[in-house]
Structure formats: structure tokens, C-alpha cells
């Protein structure tokens, strides 16, 4: 290797976020007063600047730039996914303040950790080599473990953090084992090199390595049967952290999964498709059925997220440009729905504490009609009722599956979404038809209402106007993977 400095331009957004995170840490450490609000705002600002840098410095819609010896890649796909991650993280940051203040855990480390996790996610998305992948993944995971147990006085929170950490370590172990097998059988860790034909189905060692790698990644997207941490961690973690979990890391891990199988192993499509189909069916069914008996809305959203990952994987299983395009659209819509829903969940406050039993939403339509309406929009959208954004997401996914001949998968998807519709609609029923429970407190931060309103508008039938531009962007991004 030559000793010349690698080209830093493609990685400029990441470098900026890394510096910003450390700067924020310094600000927090050297100022004595409680600086949560300031640091949060600065955190959002730095993520926004990173976004601007990323868009300004992107090599062009259909161009690819690599650096660090080919380990780091910037293309349409990475820009698309990073945009989602940045937006998700910013939203999570903005939604967190009220909760942290209420719980008296309003410490400045929280935004710093989120910024660091975001940095990890951005690196995951741009990873073009197993080494880079692992570094990004661990940076993200370690930040998230800490975030999960951020409410350290509360047993549930620490339990969640610990569980997430132990199981995460196990999955990392699997991932590393898989990587080592792949390296051992092919002699490389670079996706670009693997895709040139080194990876082939004749080699069972590579197949086993791929299984382990995918198991590790499936854990991150919480796909069945590597999903079991999800409900417990979602429930135990502080609610803003859950909101972050449901939005940003999921998108990043999904991007990583797509990058690995499509960027590194296009020659072994027949093999990984079987795995994806398996975990996709499992996720859709578990997501649909297990949620039926949940009464805690965070647990419910955990199962909901498992189910939605299952649907998104349908598009990946198709393995076509159309399928990937569907996944990108799906993840975009899913993120808006989730952020909106969590904005509502974070507003279920009474006396500075959250009441998260779904029956507490009873009669919300009479107490807080605007919030009830927004939540109803999210629920209908999550259920995939036509005219709402969630319907388009499912529509493109299932269409791609049918075009790829995966009829069984599509049919199971239909059935699962029908079953899933039950628990989404039950929430609407509780809000609109049950006798009102006590009123929730008003939000002290206007941002919550703003996020709710904006995401509700994006999910409403207005999405008709946005779906085709989005589809166009997703199409360009998807094409860069092939």
C-alpha cells in the first residue's frame, strides 16, 4: 500500500459528523449547567449540515465514488439511505427532550450518543468491505446499547440495555464468524472483489459463511428468528430511544443487508434468496400474529416493526431493481409512519409520565381530536389501507414479488397484512368508539405537534403527489446497486 493520504471528499459528511460529535461532547463536558436543549439543537444542526454536505458533495446521481482503498463507497443508494437515517435521527432527537426532562434524565450525553450512532449508521451504509461494515456496525451498536439503558435508575431500561448488549454481542460473533469463513474460502473481504466471481454457490464454505453473516444482519433488522430481543428492548428502553430504534438503525441495517447481498454476492443470489424468503415469511407472520395480544403500545410497535421488515424483505427477495426500488420506497414510508406514531406515543403523557397501555387512548377523538386523527392516519397507513402512503409501499413490494414469480411470498404477505390490520384498526376503534379516558397533558414543545402534523400529511392521501417523485429517486438509487 502506498503511503498517500486517501481521498477524503467522499467521506466528508462522516468526518464532519465525527468532529461534531466530539465537539458536542466537549461543550457538554466543559460547561457546568445542564445543556440538554443546547446540545440537542446543536446535534440536530450538525446532522442537518452533514446532510447538506452530503448532497452538495455527492458525485452525481448515477456516479460512484470510492475511497479508503475501496472500502468506502458513495453512490445513489448510499445517499438515499443516509438521507433517511439523518432525517430519522433528527426527528428522534427533536422528540426526545420532553421525555428526558420529565424523567429527569436530561443529560447532554444523550444527543451526543445519538449523533455517534448516526455516524455509525452512515458508515454502515457506505461500507463496501466487511471490515468497514464491522466498524460502522459496532460504532452504531455500542452507542445504541448505552442509549437503551440510558434511564439507568429504571430496572426495565437497564435490563433492556443488557439484553440488547448480550444478544448483540452474540450476533456480532456470528457475523464475524461468517466473515472469517468467507475470507477463508475466498481470500477477500471486499464486496467488489467478491462480486467479480470469487463468490460462487459451488463453495459450501462460502454458503455457510453467508448464512452466518445474514444471521448477524438479520438480528440488526430484527427479522425472525433473530427478532426476540426486539419487544423487550423496545418496551424497556426509554421511549425516545425506541423511536430512534424503530426509525434510523432499521433503515441503516436494511441498507447494509442489501449492500452485502446485492453488492457482494450477486453471483450467489439463488442461495441468499432462500434465506431472505425464510426470514421474510417468518417476520411477516410473527409480526402479524404476535401483536394481536399486545396491550402495551411500544411492544405492539415492536411487533409491527418486525412485520414491516418482513414486508420490506419481500422486495429484497425478489432481487430485482424493481424489488429494491420497492424496498427503498417502503423504508421511506415506514420511517414517516413510525416517527409519526412515536410522536403520538410520546404525547400519551399524564402527570409527566407516559401511559402506554393502548386502552389509555380510549375516546381520544373527543379529548384531543387532532392527535387522534393523526394517529388514525398512521394506523390506517401502517395497515396498508388504500389511498394512504402505507398502501403504496406494500403495493410496490408485492408487485415486484409477483413479477419475480414469488407468488407464495406475496400471498403470505397479503394474509399477514390482513391479520395485522386487526390490531391497527383496533387502536382506531379504541380512539373513536370507546368511552373517553382521562385527557393527556398538552405538549410543551411545539416540535411534537409539528412532527405529527407533517408525517400525518405525508401519509395522508396527499402522498399521491409525492409517491412518483419518490419512486423516481428510489429508482436511481436502486439502479446503483446493480
Amino acid at each position: 500500500m502506498s503511503a498517500t493520504l486517501p481521498d477524503l471528499t467522499p467521506a466528508l459528511p462522516e468526518i464532519f459528523v465525527a468532529c461534531a460529535a466530539m465537539a458536542l461532547l466537549m461543550v457538554g463536558v466543559f460547561k457546568k449547567d445542564n445543556l440538554l436543549k443546547v446540545v440537542t439543537r446543536l446535534g440536530v444542526l450538525s446532522l442537518a449540515i452533514a446532510f447538506v454536505i452530503m448532497v452538495a458533495k455527492m458525485p452525481g446521481l448515477d456516479r460512484v465514488a470510492t475511497t479508503f482503498g475501496g472500502m468506502f463507497i458513495v453512490d445513489g443508494f448510499s445517499v438515499f439511505m443516509k438521507s433517511l437515517v439523518l432525517i430519522g435521527s433528527m426527528a428522534a432527537l427533536l422528540m426526545s427532550q420532553q421525555y428526558l426532562i420529565d424523567r429527569k434524565i436530561d443529560r447532554f450525553e444523550f444527543p451526543v450518543l445519538i449523533v455517534l450512532a448516526t455516524l455509525g449508521m452512515m458508515m454502515m451504509i457506505s461500507a463496501n468491505d466487511f471490515m468497514a461494515l464491522y466498524v460502522g456496525l459496532e460504532l452504531q451498536s455500542l452507542s445504541l446499547y448505552v442509549l437503551a439503558s440510558f434511564d439507568r435508575e429504571r430496572q426495565r431500561s437497564t435490563e433492556a440495555g443488557l439484553k440488547y448488549f448480550v444478544l448483540g454481542a452474540l450476533s456480532s460473533g456470528m457475523l464475524l464468524y461468517g466473515i472469517s469463513l468467507i475470507y477463508g474460502f475466498s481470500g477477500t473481504t471486499s464486496f467488489s472483489v467478491l462480486s467479480t466471481g470469487l463468490a460462487n454457490s459451488e463453495n459450501i464454505g462460502l454458503v455457510v459463511g453467508l448464512v452466518f453473516v445474514l444471521a448477524g444482519l438479520a438480528f440488526k433488522v430484527s427479522a425472525v428468528p433473530f427478532h426476540m430481543w426486539t419487544p423487550d428492548v423496545y418496551e424497556g428502553a426509554p421511549t425516545p430511544v425506541t423511536a430512534l430504534f424503530a426509525a434510523a438503525p432499521k433503515v441503516a441495517a436494511m441498507a447494509l443487508l442489501m449492500r452485502v447481498v446485492l453488492g457482494g454476492f450477486p453471483t450467489m443470489a439463488a442461495d441468499w434468496q432462500q434465506i431472505i424468503i425464510f426470514i421474510s415469511i417468518g417476520s411477516m407472520l410473527v409480526g402479524a400474529f404476535a401483536a394481536l395480544v399486545q396491550t402495551n403500545i411500544k411492544r405492539l410497535m415492536a411487533y409491527s416493526s418486525i412485520g414491516h421488515v418482513g414486508y420490506a424483505l419481500v422486495g429484497l427477495a425478489a432481487g430485482t431493481v424493481q424489488g429494491v426500488e420497492g424496498v427503498l420506497v417502503y423504508m421511506t414510508i415506514y420511517m414517516t409512519m413510525t416517527i409519526g406514531t412515536f410522536a403520538c406515543i410520546l404525547s400519551m403523557r399524564r402527570d409527566k409520565a407516559l401511559d402506554l397501555d393502548i386502552n389509555e387512548l380510549a375516546g381520544l377523538s373527543r379529548n384531543q381530536p387532532a392527535m387522534a386523527f393523526a394517529l388514525a392516519v398512521f394506523m390506517f397507513s401502517l395497515a396498508g389501507i388504500p389511498l394512504l402512503a402505507g398502501f403504496f409501499g406494500k403495493y410496490f413490494i408485492f408487485m415486484s414479488a409477483i413479477d419475480a414469480g414469488l407468488y407464495t411470498l406475496a400471498i403470505i404477505g397479503f394474509v399477514a397484512s390482513v391479520v395485522g390490520a386487526f390490531y391497527y384498526l383496533r387502536i382506531v376503534k379504541i380512539m373513536y368508539f370507546d368511552e373517553p379516558a382521562a385527557k393527556f397533558d398538552d405538549n410543551e414543545f411545539g416540535t411534537m405537534g409539528f412532527i405529527m402534523g407533517l408525517t400525518a400529511a405525508l401519509n395522508s392521501p396527499l402522498s399521491f403527489l409525492l409517491i412518483y417523485p419518490l419512486l423516481g429517486l428510489a429508482g436511481v438509487a436502486a439502479a446503483s446497486l446493480f
Binding site: K163, L167, V211, A215, P225, Q274, L285, A288
Partner: protein, 643 residues
């Protein structure tokens, strides 16, 4: 003018139906009634024009259907047959409207009632002015709907609802026949327009088709199907069960729909399609037999009924039977003549009965009436006139029409004709008996009603008596005034091309029947009067004795030949059983169990299972992950054939 006749009731219906609440009772009554009276006046002008002037026309309303081979227009066919029906329908309807102003004065839903009456009238006019089978079917269904609505007008009464449903369902059976018939006509003739079809009939006559291995005559089949429709509407034996129950509706409704107009639609249908029936002699025989049997059946049941309206209802049924066998022996003119006179005297009887009921504080049981002739003398006189007309006493209307009908049956000189003649004579005896029994039980003898009822008994207001008087005039003079036109020398000129007779003119041969045939109906009528007088005036203990002596016969008649029980056993209970079976076992046990309920239970079971797996222990979770990986690796090892 014809458009005005037909559409004025529709306008009345729309105004009273849509804005009745805003207009209030008075306005709704006067608007609908006024339009109907105008329509009736125009109808009479039209009758004079068509009957005397001989101007048959076709009035174009709209192009209705133009689809592939199916082309026809919405036209009003105006000939003698239509003209007769126009007068009957609009006149009786107008009088019933007027009468109802008094009769329904205590009801809260007057606008609705008058709207329904006008709707019925419009539908009936659509029926009689039809230029093609589909238009006729529209009217046919329209009157069925209006009848259903009016029978169930007092919707808070369970019995009224049951009767309305029964009427609707029984009519469905008939309507099914009619619609099959119309479909068959389109299939065979390629058109549903009357003139086109009738012109093509001679060419079709004699053609056969195979059905279930049997050879059947095309035209006979079509005619029989049409007749099934007619049987349903006109309450002929087998499909008659709805008519007595329909008396649950308000009495003016009974007079209009279930006596004068709707129930005669079947007669009209057969008369209108006479060019078809004439080429299907077997169908005509069926019509004769069914008609004659209905006549005797209904008359026998009427002998023992105690509800004043039910007696008249069975009487109607019986008289319709007369009309049908007249049709069956090709005496279409006689049938239409009887229809015409019957409309007057039967509406008179019904409205008279309504007046009695009104006076008796809604009492309908004749056993609780009696001795009321001094208190309601006008009603009494009117009922007497109606009865004289019904029993066919000279010179009342019934004498002319009924005798013609009976003589026609004799003059046919066929087996079924003989049968019809005998049945008609016996039925005439019974008719006379039950009619006078009704008069004697209601107006004569001791007052059997309660003190309260007697105290409140009063003659009906003029608004109710006026229609009675008009109808009574009709019941008196309609016979000899129109006899010549309908069945006498003027008949050819009058009917023109409206009626078609293929063989010998039966109305000509009635002039050559033996004298005893001419007098027999009159004799049995007088005999019936004498028996009734003996039973109910002279020796009032006789009816009970006779009933005791012929206990089983009495029960048989009282229970209306057990038709309802038979249908209950044959159709109602099996359908209930089948329905229950399909509901409990089929729907609940199979579809629900394995469909929605089964899937829901399965989903909940899956959910619980998924929850029980979610133990909260980290090592369980880790185990699941390892199992997952192991499964996948194993899967690939096996599908690959191993290392």
C-alpha cells in the same frame, strides 16, 4: 291527455311522498285526491273517445331500451281494453282517495298513505297502458310493491307486517312465472312488443321443444307461465293465500287494490294476450278449470268466515274465479264486463264494510255486530245495493255480467265448460248465502257489540258517503248501460282489435242456451237469500246446529281448506328447516367455523403461542438465534448434498 292520466298520480305520489311532512295532512290529501279526480275525469273522456269514437292510439313517451336485438319504446297503448281499465282504475282510485280523507282522519301518517295510494295508481296505469311485456312487468311489479307497502301500512302491527311479507312472497312465485314467460317470449319471438308478438303467434303455434325428455308445446308453455303470473296477482287457487291476509291493510286499500284493480291485473293480462291464448287451447282449459275451482273454493270458505272483510275478500277471490273461467271459454268480453261491474259493487261493499268498521270503533268481527241498520242507514242501503249487485239480482250490474259469464260457460259445450258451469251455479248459491249472511249478521238482529261501541256508533261523514253513492250508482246502472257495448251487439265495434277470438264467437252462442240456464243463476240467488234469511233471521239457532252436524266439513271450511297449513307443512317449515340448517350448520358450522371464526381463533392461538415463546430470558433468545442459524445451515447442507 293520456300522458296526463298516467302521470298525474305519479306527480301526486312524488309531492306527497317527498314533501308530505312539510305540506301536512290536509295539503297532501287534497293534492293527491285532486290530481286523481282530474285523472278520472280525463279517463272518462278517453273512454268515450275510444269506446264511442273508436279512436285507438299509441302515445309515445320515450325510447326505453335499445340494446342489440332488444328494441322497444315506452308507449301508451290505448284501445278499448285499456280504456275500460283506465276508467275502472282512476275512478275507483279517485273515490278511494276521497273516502280515505274521512276514513284515515284519525291516522298520523296521512301523507304517506296518500302517497302510496297514488303510487299504486300510477303503477296500475303503467300496467294497463303497457305496449310491451316489459312495461307491463314494470307496472306489475310496481303494484306489487305498492300493495306490499299498503298492506303493511300499519307497520307497528306484527300481523300487518306478516301479511305484507306473505303477499309479497306469494306474488313472487307468480311473478317468477310471469318473468319466465316474458323471457320465453323474447326467446321465441325476438321481441316483447305486443303487436309484434301477436302478429307472429300463428306462425309459432304448434311448435314444440324438448324439456327433460318431454315434448312440450312452445305456445302452451308460454301461456301457462303467463297464467302463473296472473294466478299470483289475481289470487287464484294455489296462490290465493295472501289475499285474505292482505285485509290487514286499511279498508280503502282493500277496496282499491284487493277488490277493484290490482287483483284484476291477471284477468287483464290474459285478456290482453288473448291472441296467444287462443292458439293454446290446453292453456285455456287450465285457465277454465283453475278459475271454476277457485270460484267454488272461495265461495265455500266465505260461508263460514266471521271477519267482515275476510268474507268480502273470499268473495273477491271467488268472483275472480268467474272472470277466469269466462276467459278460459274465450268469452273475453264477458270477463272484462264482469271485471268492470265487479269493480263497482265490490269496491262499494268494501267501502261499505269500512264504513261499518269505522262506525263500530274498528270492530271487524261480525259476531259482535248486529242491529245497526237504524243507526247507520245510509251505509245499510249502500251495502244492500252492493249485495244485490253481487248476487246478480235484476236489474243490478251483477245480473248482466255474471249471467253472461255463466251462460258462456254453458255455451262452450266442452268438458271444462260444463264443469265451470256447475261450479258457477253452486258458487252462485253460496255467494248469495254468504252475502246475505253478512248483511243479516251486521245490520239485523240484536246488537251484540259492547256498550261503548254502541254509544259511539255514528253514520260516516259525507266525505265517506259520497264515494259510496257514486259506486252504488255504478253498481245499479253499469250493467244495463254497458251490457250492449261489452257483450251485446255493439261488442265488435267496441272492442275492435283489442280482443281476439279464434273459433266460434261464444258470446253469440249464449243467445241459444236453454231457458233454464238463463234463469238458474237468478233462482239459486233467491234460494241463497231464503236460506240465509232462515238461518240468521228466523231461527238463529240453526247455524250452530248445522255446524255441529257437519263438524268436520265446518272445520274444513273454517280453516280455508287447510291451504295455509298445507303450505306451512310443504314449504314454510322445510324452508325454515333448510334455512336453519344452512345457518347453523352450513354458515355457522362450516363457513364461520373454518372461515372468519376459525381464522380468528387460529390467529389468537398463534398470538398466544408467540407470546409464550417470548419468555424474557436471554438464553432462550440466544437459543432461538442459534436454532435459526443451525436450521439454515442444515437446509443448505441437505439441498446441496453435503460437504
Amino acid at each position: 291527455m293520456y300522458k296526463a292520466i298516467v302521470f298525474m298520480p305519479l306527480i301526486g305520489f312524488l309531492i306527497a311522498g317527498l314533501f308530505g311532512r312539510q305540506l301536512g295532512t290536509k295539503a297532501s290529501q287534497w293534492i293527491t285526491t285532486g290530481l286523481l279526480v282530474a285523472s278520472a275525469v280525463l279517463s272518462m273522456v278517453a273512454f268515450m273517445d275510444v269506446a264511442v269514437g273508436g279512436n285507438t292510439t299509441m302515445v309515445h313517451v320515450a325510447n326505453w331500451v335499445s340494446s342489440g336485438d332488444l328494441n322497444f319504446h315506452w308507449q301508451l297503448k290505448i284501445d278499448a281494453l285499456t280504456a275500460v281499465m283506465l276508467v275502472v282504475v282512476t275512478l275507483v282510485s279517485a273515490l278511494v282517495h276521497i273516502y280515505s280523507i274521512g276514513y284515515m282522519s284519525h291516522d298520523d301518517h296521512n301523507p304517506r298513505f296518500f302517497a302510496y295510494l297514488s303510487l299504486f295508481t300510477f303503477a296500475m296505469l303503467m300496467l294497463v297502458t303497457a305496449n310491451n311485456f316489459l312495461q307491463l312487468f314494470f307496472g306489475w311489479e310496481g303494484v306489487g310493491l305498492a300493495s306490499y307497502l299498503l298492506i303493511g301500512f300499519w307497520y307497528k302491527k306484527p300481523s300487518a307486517n306478516a301479511a305484507a311479507i306473505k303477499a309479497f312472497l306469494v306474488n313472487r312465485v307468480g311473478d317468477f312465472g310471469l318473468s319466465l314467460g316474458i323471457l320465453a317470449i323474447f326467446l321465441v319471438f325476438g321481441s316483447v312488443t305486443f303487436d309484434v308478438v301477436f302478429a307472429a303467434v300463428p306462425a309459432i303455434a304448434g311448435q314444440t321443444f324438448m324439456f327433460l325428455g318431454m315434448e312440450a308445446d312452445v305456445l302452451t308453455t308460454i301461456c301457462l307461465l303467463l297464467f302463473v303470473g296472473a294466478m299470483g296477482k289475481s289470487a287464484q287457487l294455489g296462490l290465493h293465500t295472501w289475499l285474505p291476509d292482505a285485509m290487514e291493510g286499511p279498508t280503502p286499500v282493500s277496496a282499491l287494490i284487493h277488490a277493484a284493480t290490482m287483483v284484476t291485473a291477471g284477468v287483464f293480462l290474459v285478456a290482453r294476450t288473448s291472441p296467444m291464448f287462443e292458439f293454446a287451447p290446453f292453456a285455456l282449459d287450465v285457465v277454465t278449470v283453475v278459475g271454476a275451482t277457485t270460484a267454488i273454493f272461495a265461495a265455500s270458505v266465505a260461508l263460514v268466515q266471521n271477519d267482515i272483510k275476510r268474507v268480502i275478500a273470499y268473495s273477491t277471490c271467488s268472483q275472480l274465479g268467474y272472470m277466469f273461467f269466462a276467459l278460459g271459454v274465450s268469452a273475453y268480453g264477458a270477463a272484462m264486463f264482469h271485471l268492470f261491474t265487479h269493480a263497482f259493487f265490490k269496491a262499494l261493499l268494501f267501502l261499505g264494510a269500512g264504513s261499518v268498521i269505522h262506525a263500530m270503533s274498528d270492530e271487524q268481527d261480525m259476531r259482535k255486530m248486529g242491529g245497526s241498520r237504524q243507526m247507520i242507514p245510509m251505509t245499510y242501503i249502500m251495502m244492500i245495493i252492493g249485495t244485490l249487485a253481487l248476487t246478480g239480482i235484476f236489474p243490478f250490474a251483477g245480473y248482466f255480467s255474471k249471467d253472461t259469464v255463466i251462460e258462456a260457460a254453458y255455451a262452450a259445450h266442452t268438458g271444462v265448460g260444463e264443469y265451470a258451469f256447475i261450479m258457477a251455479i253452486v258458487a252462485a248459491l253460496m255467494t248469495s248465502f254468504y252475502s246475505w249472511r253478512l248483511i243479516f249478521m251486521t245490520f239485523h238482529g240484536k246488537a251484540r257489540g259492547g256498550e261503548e261501541t254502541l254509544k259511539h256508533m255514528h253514520e260516516s261523514p259525507p266525505v265517506m258517503l259520497l264515494p259510496l253513492v257514486v259506486l252504488a250508482i255504478g253498481a245499479v246502472i253499469a250493467g244495463f248501460v254497458f251490457s250492449d257495448m261489452f257483450v251485446g251487439e255493439g261488442r265488435f265495434e267496441f272492442w275492435g282489435a283489442a280482443l281476439f277470438v279464434k273459433g266460434d264467437d261464444i258470446l253469440e252462442s249464449i243467445h241459444h242456451v236453454p231457458t233454464f240456464v238463463k234463469f238458474l243463476p237468478l233462482i239459486v240467488s233467491i234460494l241463497g237469500f231464503i236460506i240465509a234469511y232462515k238461518f240468521y233471521i228466523k231461527s238463529t239457532e240453526l247455524p250452530a246446529k248445522v255446524a255441529g252436524a257437519f263438524k268436520y266439513l265446518y272445520q274444513f271450511l273454517l280453516n280455508k281448506w287447510y291451504w295455509d297449513e298445507l303450505y306451512d307443512f310443504l314449504f314454510v317449515r322445510p324452508s325454515f328447516w333448510l334455512g336453519k340448517f344452512l345457518w347453523k350448520k352450513g354458515d355457522g358450522g362450516v363457513i364461520d367455523r373454518f372461515g372468519p371464526d376459525g381464522f380468528a381463533a387460529f390467529a389468537m392461538m398463534m398470538a398466544k403461542r408467540a407470546r409464550s415463546v417470548q419468555t424474557g430470558f436471554v438464553y432462550h433468545y440466544a437459543f432461538a438465534m442459534l436454532i435459526g442459524v443451525a436450521l439454515l445451515v442444515t437446509w443448505f447442507m441437505f439441498t446441496r448434498g453435503g460437504f
